[in-house]
């Protein structure tokens, strides 16, 4: 994996690294991708129709409004104010 790809992937994952971390992970990723590359040798093509026959049919709840958790209970794990999540200022 080259540095440019590494940085793009890190950006997608919302991750940032120190120089040391980046060098270690870049080395790890090269080893990991070596392992993953072996799947390219499998002479197979994914058949979405086969999955349609075999997958479980999800049993979904009816789409109707139900009482959920109390707001104050949900906010207990967050920095909150006036029953809202606190985030950095996003609008000037």
């Amino acid at each position: 994996m080259d540095l440019q790809t590494f940085n793009q992937i890190a950006d997608l994952g919302k991750l940032t690294f120190s120089d040391t971390e980046r060098d270690e992970l870049l080395h790890d990723m090269t080893d990991i991708i070596d392992i993953m590359d072996t799947v390219k040798n499998a002479d197979l093509v994914y058949d979405p129709l086969l999955d349609n026959k075999n997958v479980f049919i999800n049993e979904l709840r009816k789409d109707k409004a139900e009482t959920s958790f109390p707001t104050e209970k949900i906010l207990k794990n967050a920095r909150n104010m006036n029953n809202c999540f606190v985030v950095p200022k996003v609008v000037e």
Binding site: M1, T5, F6, Q8, I9, A10, L12, G13, K14, L15, T16, F17, E21, E24, L25, D28, M29, D31, I32, I33, I35, M36, D37, T38, V39, K40, N41, A42, L44, V45, Y46, D47, L50, D51, N54, F56, N58, E59, L60, R61, F69, K73, I74, K76, N77, A78, R79, F85, V87, P88, V90
Partner: protein
């Protein structure tokens, strides 16, 4: 234990106190628990005893249990062994916890694990890097290493774990206990903090297959909160215990014994197969050619799903929140970078790479094709066999000071277990021997979909004819 409680030979409180004392005495060496819920356990034991006294007990009433720390417990910290969720207190119970509470089981505490269930050693935990009760210098396996070690060290009679690629079976093998991964959809995943949603499954770890069956009886069944849980009847999973294996057809896929195991593990598991044969089973040789692709296919699928599942951790709604960052983007970036450990970051990176434009077909698409092929190979084997027998892990527990961050070494240690998750099948691991260091060797019995009764029965038959050696490191 059930019988002793019902006959009043001991009380639920005495039983719970005994385990809490064992934990207080021993767990500083093993580090199997992240959180010990002593006060809750004592209260639950008291309530359980009242039910027992009134003759209204259920199979798990008053039975103390340990719970893996990725299963949400209302009001009790659920950390996933990550700095990201170090202080997370769930506002609700996982469905399995509601089911255990409905039977008045007793929760001893929350057990350690690899961070976000990503690993095979329990050494990627943010804190409480659990040790193997057979040798404190060795790993307990993972990711449910805390649960397996707690049962092995008699710090809980049974526990719940979760299994995405072997995370119940491999630590059970390393710690000399029995661990069951149910059929995908058999147990609700509601409240299980997601790693890879198409592979994750909660299951029991105990000292016997029969005990795993009793636990599965309690936690299985449809749940309206989990759209992937199966709406089908829950049988008595212990119904085939004590029935023997006469006439049973056991398949041995040669690749698991060629590339998948050391000489000693291979010989020990094959000796177990011969023992089944001597008890009346028929052994069938078979092949699973795609095993050589199983590890990369598993890591591609699971990491792709993990990258999506872990996108929810932004430091805003819950979880670690960085003190650095003046914009929304910087806050999210810093919170995630500080909150996740190295292995989790590797999986997020791999998952996003596999799903990226230009790489998707070559990696994720090919892994999905392999998933179909592995399922087809299992189906072919089950046309002539009732169950499949394989090693649980290529080798016995490795030393903590080995190179356990090397992805090649660690990822291939899952080779014997990942295909079961890929194919959504049930499988159980039990001990079938000990190596020259006294470390347990595990074997796995894999069953047809929804046929947990058979694999529990087959394993029970072996266990009734096998002498276990308890862990010595903590004595």
């Amino acid at each position: 234990m059930r019988s002793a409680l019902d006959k009043k030979e001991l009380s639920a409180t005495e039983l719970t106190e005994t385990y809490l004392e064992n934990i207080a005495k021993t767990d500083s060496k093993i580090e199997s628990y992240v959180t010990v819920t002593a006060d809750i356990a004592k209260e639950q034991a008291k309530a359980a005893q009242e039910l027992i006294n009134s003759g209204k007990s259920s199979p798990l009433t008053g039975i103390p249990l340990a719970i893996k720390d990725n299963i949400c417990t209302e009001g009790v910290k659920t950390t996933c062994a990550s700095r990201m969720l170090e202080n997370f207190i769930p506002p609700y119970n996982a469905t399995v916890m509601d089911k255990l509470n409905a039977q008045n089981a007793v929760m001893l505490g929350k057990t350690s694990m690899d961070e976000f269930a990503m690993g095979s050693t329990t050494q990627t935990a943010f804190e409480k890097k659990t040790k193997n009760p057979y040798d404190l210098n060795r790993v307990p396996g993972g990711s449910s290493g805390g649960s397996a070690a707690a049962v092995s060290a008699r710090l809980a009679p049974a526990a719940l774990g979760s299994d995405t690629g072997g995370s119940i079976r491999q630590p059970s093998s390393f710690c000399g206990v029995t661990g069951l991964k149910p059929t995908y959809s058999r147990v609700s995943r509601y409240g299980l903090i997601a790693f890879a949603s198409s592979l994750d499954q909660i299951g029991p770890i105990a000292n016997s297959a029969e005990d795993c069956g009793y636990l599965l009886n309690a936690i299985a069944g449809f749940d309206r909160h989990d759209g992937t849980s199966a709406n089908r009847a829950v049988p008595d999973f212990t119904s085939k215990c004590g029935q023997g294996v006469k006439g049973l057809k056991i398949a041995l896929p040669k690749e698991f014994f060629e590339e998948g195991a050391t000489d000693f593990v291979r010989k020990t598991v094959l000796a177990a197969a011969e023992k089944y044969k001597s008890m009346g089973a028929e052994l069938i040789e078979c092949s699973m050619p795609s095993l050589k692709y199983a590890v990369p296919a598993y890591f591609l699928i699971s990491s792709a799903e993990a990258a999506s599942n872990l996108a929810r951790f932004d430091g805003i709604k819950y979880g670690h929140r960085s003190e650095k960052g003046s914009t929304y983007g910087e806050l999210v970036l810093n919170s995630r970078s500080e909150g996740f450990g190295r292995e989790v970051k590797r999986r997020i990176m791999l998952g996003n790479y596999a799903l990226s434009s230009g790489y998707y077909d070559a990696y994720y698409g090919k892994a999905c094709a392999l998933r179909q092929e592995i399922r087809a190979e299992y189906n072919r084997i089950f046309e002539t066999a009732d169950v499949i027998l394989t090693p649980t892990a290529p080798r016995t527990a490795f030393r903590i000071d080995e190179n356990i961050t090397d992805p090649k070494m660690i990822y291939y240690s899952d080779i014997c277990t990942v295909t079961v998750n890929i194919a959504s099948l049930p499988a159980i691991s039990t001990t079938c021997g000990y190596d020259e260091n006294g470390l347990p060797v595990g074997m796995s019995i894999v069953g047809k979909m929804w046929d947990e009764e058979t694999i529990i029965g087959v394993t029970d038959t072996f266990e009734r004819n096998f002498t276990k050696i308890s862990a010595k490191a903590v004595k």
